[in-house]
Amino acid sequence: MLTHASEAPSRPRRVVVLGASGFVGADLIEHLRGHEVPTLPLSSADVDLRQAESVERLVQLVDEGDSLVIVSALTPDKGKDVKTFMANLTMGAHVSAFLSRVRLAQVVYVSSDSVYDDQASLIDETTRCAPQTFHGLMHLARERMVTSALQPLKTPLLIIRPSLLYGARDSHNGYGPNRFLRSAREEARIELFGQGEETRDHVYIKDLSRLIGLGLLHGSQGVLNVATGQSVSFRKVAELVASMADHPVWIECRPRTGPISHRHFDIKTLLSRFPTFRLTPLQEGLADTLRQMKASAEKTMPIAV
């Protein structure tokens, strides 16, 4: 159930973003600043959430009436083990300790679709959470921590569970659009598992930032899955990427390591609360990502003397 505190948009006083230097955080900051929303970006260099002192530090930095977006997490590329899991929980515990002390206008917790069962083929917000990985378990536990911490002060909480994200600044290099775009550019090849039959719902990072922005403008509360409702196969993604390259790209098939699984989203909650929201078509998002990757590469290219 997702509700808006106000149907008419109302600009937040200031938005504090925890995890502002990461893939999601950086894009969100850029989006909010583009709309002249006052922001306070905080990264681990400003506040190390793994340390107990971070609670006091947050109390100093964040004011009552601020809105807070929590994106900080050690992502699976940093480790999929118990140690990473426990470090993420510690971060969650410290943020929760802070949340129970300061009355905020709104909190947005950016979680993940990994809180749902890997076997669930059609997912909406009512699908039971049954995480199969430490990453999913961590997000579900942190969702509960934050919910519990906010209850006494009745601070509105929006939990966002995005599907697979892609965008130029993504450093995770996970199997999917970003890796395909990089390997197509740098190695003129894309590697698929099996024939790349699995279907997934790929979300353009800018759509996520825009939706978080809308959630802040409307004071939304509840749970929102962020997906396009249109799952495509990895093969299709690879073919789209290959078709955009300015040189031939070889699509290679490697033996798959696990059984074929598919994931689809029913996005009626997103559509019913934001009916005029335009989700970026995959082709358009990939083209945009490629453009940004090229621009970024040109900027960092050494000048020939």
Binding site: T126, G229, F277
Partner: protein, 433 residues
């Protein structure tokens, strides 16, 4: 003399039908205004054929707000519809108050029949409560369908009667009433009869849900559900009247109420109710079909779109909007400030909180400058609207016609882009708009 207590939809239809069968009827409701309107022949419900039936049965039926009129009846039938809350649970306050009124008027030996939608266990509790009143207490399952209530009440397939002692003959007056319907009479335990009604509805839901999941798969893999329907209807195990027409999930409230009752009983009894949960999830999923289609093809790519809506009732030939897909859609669209022009032949909505919602008096008027048309109730008149004129006055081409009211060939000829349940769309990626 047969008495009816409670004149909502069920009581009005049942009492008029009983009178039309030649019985003298007293129809009681504590609402004075309602009784006066009924005496003038003004019906507060929409049902095909009911007005004519009332006119013909008028000499044998007396509408009254005086409960004492029930005292002279050999049989009193409590026929108040049990209202349901937003979460589809039943509210028994009104029926219990009505039963208290009946008890006050009941003479020893009177048969009191509960026709209202009560759960298993209700009638036995009532019989126990009235044990020292020397009344004969029965439960009778109602199986009316909104929009076909008269037809079903005049010619029921069977009478399901819950009794304290099923082997014992029914009291003469009640037996005579039932005999006038010339259909099988099935006496059984109270609990069996009460559950039989739920069982019928659950079988319908299982057909509807199976149809809907298959129709959705058709849309995705290039099959056409309308081509499959005849194959199912000709299968003796499924049948010519099976519920195999795809729809927008469950609506109307009755099926949802029975599922809610079943789930509550199953949870208390520790029996497996997971299938029911899956039906409800699928119903909610299918209810989003219109919005999803509309959002992908118009709302997300059109500045200040105008949406035409035909039909507000949850089904044709009724005034009921309970769990109506149209109202759910309007709530979303109007709540988000999207312009809507709606038409329904039976319902007039007043929603001052929807400033950009207009209700108009003809289907064509609703289409003026519309970017898309959504047909949400299968009122027969929609099938005969001139599609050339629709196409001429609409700004956009999209017609969301889940139930297939419009002729597909006519839509194609006039350039309208029809979207139906169970039929694949030709565009590969409708997100691209």
């Amino acid at each position: 003399m047969i008495g009816f207590a409670g004149l909502s939809h069920l009581g009005i239809v049942s009492s008029i039908v009983a009178a039309s069968k030649g019985h003298d009827v007293v129809a009681f409701d504590p609402d004075v205004t309602r009784c006066e309107a009924l005496r003038r022949g003004q019906l507060p419900v929409v049902e095909p054929g009911l007005q004519e039936l009332l006119a013909s049965a008028r000499p044998r039926i007396r509408f009254t707000s005086d409960p004492q009129a029930l005292a002279a009846c050999a049989v009193v039938i409590c026929a108040e519809d049990v209202p349901t809350s937003v979460d589809n649970t039943s509210e028994f306050g009104p029926i219990n108050r009505l039963l208290d009124t009946v008890e006050q008027q009941a003479a020893p030996g009177m048969s009191v029949v509960v026709l209202s939608q009560v759960p298993p266990g209700f009638t036995r509790q009532l019989a126990r409560r009235w044990a020292d009143r020397r009344l004969e207490v029965f439960y009778q399952a109602e199986t009316l369908i909104f929009g076909q209530a008269v037809e079903r009440a005049l010619s029921p397939e069977r009478m399901i009667v819950g009794c304290a002692r099923p082997q014992q003959a029914l009291p003469e007056a009640y037996a005579n009433l039932l005999a006038s319907f010339s259909c099988p009479i099935l006496p059984m335990r109270y609990e069996s009869a009460e559950l039989a009604k739920i069982a019928i509805n659950m079988f319908l839901v299982s057909s509807v849900s199976t149809t809907n999941i298959l129709a959705e798969l058709c849309e995705a893999i290039g099959a056409d559900w309308s081509e499959i329907i005849p194959a199912l209807r000709l299968d003796a195990r499924i049948g010519p009247r099976a519920y195999v027409t795809p729809g927008l999930g469950l609506s109307g409230g009755n099926l949802e109420r029975d599922l809610s009752t079943f789930s509550r009983l199953a949870q208390a009894a520790g029996t497996d109710a997971r299938m029911v949960e899956a039906w409800l999830v699928n119903s909610a999923h299918r209810q989003g079909w219109v919005l999803t289609t509309l959002a992908r093809e118009v709302l997300s790519c059109q500045t200040d779109p105008m949406i035409a809506v035909w039909g507000l009732a949850y089904k044709p030939h009724t005034h009921s909007t309970k769990n109506s897909p149209a109202l759910a859609l309007l709530e979303t669209l109007s709540g988000s400030g999207i312009r809507v022009q709606a038409y329904d032949p039976a319902i007039r909505l007043t929603r001052p909180d929807w400033p950009r919602f207009t209700q108009v008096s003809t289907p064509l008027e609703a289409c003026g400058e519309a970017d898309a048309l959504a047909i949400l109730t299968s009122w027969p008149e929609f099938a005969s609207v001139d599609l050339t004129r629709v196409a001429r006055i609409m700004r956009g081409r999209l017609v969301i016609d889940p139930l297939g009211m419009l002729d597909p060939a006519g839509c194609q000829e006039t350039g309208l882009r029809q979207r139906r349940l169970g039929v694949p769309t030709l565009t590969e990626d409708p997100v691209l708009c």
